[in-house]
Amino acid sequence: MSSILIIEQILNGLQFGVMLFLMAAGLTLIFGVMGLINLAHGSLYMVGAFAAAAVAGVTGSFLLALVAALAAAALAGAIVEMVVIRRLYNAPHLDQVLATFALILIFSEGTRWVFGSFPLFLDIPDALSGPVTLPGGIEYPLYRLTLIGIGLAVAVGLWALIERTRLGIQIRAGENDREMIAALGVDISKLYTLVFALGAALAGLAGALVGAIQSVQVGMGEPVLILAFVVIVIGGIGSVRGAFIGALLVGLTDTLGGVFLPELFKLFMDNGAAQKSGSALASMGIYVLMGLVLIWRPTGLFGARA
């Protein structure tokens, strides 16, 4: 296997990882600040993708589509927070799991009600389509490079937001001590709605960006949701830095595992069998990774020690 291929695969893993980060960041923030397990986060991802596809279909502008995705997901997030989620902050995890599971059902079938049962169309903007040649002669799709760039930019932006702004101070305070932010005179319910909408917007952005190279369809959120949970559990729930590291780990493990495990198995099996067993093992790879991390550190890599 050539080094060019390996570098390309590492780029693929990175790209997958940063997109997972967009999902995971919101999820981990919401847990960190509000202590809420939100299974419906994948639905917000789907809302973003559908909003983008709908707007792109009407206007033909990808940029407008992204704006629509951000707005629609943030709005859906804010509404859900105010109508349902708000009542769950002090509820046991179990109730949160059930309620947000119910939200998935409502979002998924509701979207099918509105948009029908067939996948929607959303394409890469012309300016970003096609491959570019990187130093070393690697041909790589420009759009995927852009995704890596956007993902990293969001990561930096989020870091700056949390470390450098007033809102960030409130968020950090909220993670440590809820009574304290009340004492600081912060309107908690406004802060919570804001954080939830922020997380939702990030998920919506991810949905729109990824939707352009994947299929925009009902149920697209659930597989990503499970991966995002794996990410934040590996990173440590509540830690944005952990989510970032976890996302890259999961992205790289999944991509490289799928490529290299079958190759490895070919050393002692025939081609077809190696492909089958290798890819079977690779599909379990990230869960094995998560299991190992939790056995080693029961609260994840950057989680608060129990």
Binding site: Q15, P119, D123, R144, G258, P262
Partner: protein
């Protein structure tokens, strides 16, 4: 339970108000992911029933949610409570494997409008089981034959790691005479194919064959088109069907795919079907709709000749397959699977709508590889 009394409008005209005498149970996927296929099969089927003008047929339709255990229970319901004469509707092979063997052993006739898993064509064939669509391998075999005809020598092939995926690659390899530049099993439900596409780029393939049904195919095609690789792609019709083609967009233009049906197959039945389907539902019919339509017409043709209560005669009437198929010539092989012509078609754009046009014949009067194993 949604009961559709056939041709309600017609029966309103005739004031007889005859009681339903024949009962059909349709179990298909109407909610959740993959509902589009089930809806098309149902709409095609009901269109034919309505056009028949018969008011003695009752169709009981149930949603299996694409869950095998639900499908099995609905099948129990159809047989035990509804006491249907004929069952149909299942889209997915794994659901068919859960339902069909038990159903046909309880003396129910099953007409498959879509799934054609290999066990049911070979050792597990049954006199009560008729497949009106295809055996699962058929379209892939045709893709292999087409690749030979086009002169491809070195194919890169990929499919999801599950039985239908394994069958697909086996089917392609059965007919393809060139070499394999690579063979990959992807994860079922995978949405990102960057890693596979990189491997295709690094290989020395001259063509790519893939079987990735549903959203997987949409994702693959969009990403493949964006990768800048210009190797020709061949696939079965499932990723290029009317329902999902619009979601793939330009990325699918020019791709060759194999199918036993297309809307431009030139026969009067097909022309009438395409026109009336569009008139009734306001969209172009898909492959699945044509299969549902053919299934209903096969059933109606047998019903004209024999009563389902006379099982032997009814089976004989089905086996004769004397109906006007949207695909032109249609007959059953010894294992009750179609012997039919499979075409190569190309994705084109008609105005704003993406659709297919036939390039030529990939396999003429093709049966399947399992017929010999069937002892009926």
């Amino acid at each position: 339970m949604k009961k559709f009394l056939a041709a309600a409008a017609v029966s309103a005209l005739c004031s007889t108000g005859a009681l339903a005498e024949v009962k059909v149970g349709m179990i298909t996927t109407l909610s959740g992911g993959g509902a589009g296929l089930g809806i098309d099969v149902r709409d095609g089927f009901m269109l034919a029933i309505a056009q028949s003008g018969r008011d003695d047929i009752e169709v009981v339709i149930e949603d299996d949610q694409r869950k095998p255990d639900i499908a099995v229970q609905l099948s129990d319901k159809m047989i035990q409570s509804e006491r249907v004469d004929v069952m149909t509707g299942i889209i997915w092979s794994n659901l068919a494997m859960a339902v069909v063997p038990a159903a046909v052993n309880q003396n129910v006739i099953y007409l498959s409008p879509n799934a054609g898993p290999s066990p049911l064509a070979g050792k597990g064939c049954h006199q009560n089981y008729f497949n009106v669509a295809w055996q699962n391998d058929n379209l892939h075999e045709a893709a292999g034959a087409y690749a030979n005809g086009t002169g491809y020598k070195n194919s890169f092939i990929l499919a999801p790691n599950y039985p239908a995926g394994v069958d697909a690659l086996t089917g392609y390899k059965r007919f393809f005479e060139g070499d394999l530049a690579g063979e990959i099993y992807t994860e079922l439900g995978q949405t990102d194919y960057a890693a596979e596409i990189a491997q295709i780029r690094a290989s020395d393939a001259d063509s790519v064959f893939f079987f990735l049904p549903g959203g997987m195919g949409i994702s693959f095609l969009k990403q493949y088109a964006d990768s800048g690789i210009d190797l020709p792609v061949v696939g079965p019709a499932f990723s290029f069907d009317q329902g999902i083609l619009q979601a793939v967009g330009d990325a699918a233009l020019g791709v060759v795919n194999t199918s036993q049906w297309n809307k431009d197959i030139d026969n009067p039945t097909n022309a009438a079907f395409v026109e009336s389907f569009q008139a009734e539902y306001g969209r172009l019919p898909s492959l699945y709709a044509s299969q549902g339509f053919d299934t209903a017409n096969l059933f109606l043709s047998a019903l004209d000749k024999a009563d389902p209560s006379d099982a032997d005669a009814f089976r004989e009437a089905l086996r004769a397959a004397e109906f006007e198929s949207t695909r032109g010539d249609f007959s059953f092989g010894p294992n009750h699977h179609p012997v039919q012509t499979i075409y190569a078609r190309e994705v084109i754009k008609e105005g704003d709508v993406f659709t297919n046009k036939i390039l030529g014949v990939a396999l003429e009067n093709h049966s399947d590889a399992y017929a010999a194993e069937c002892k009926m």
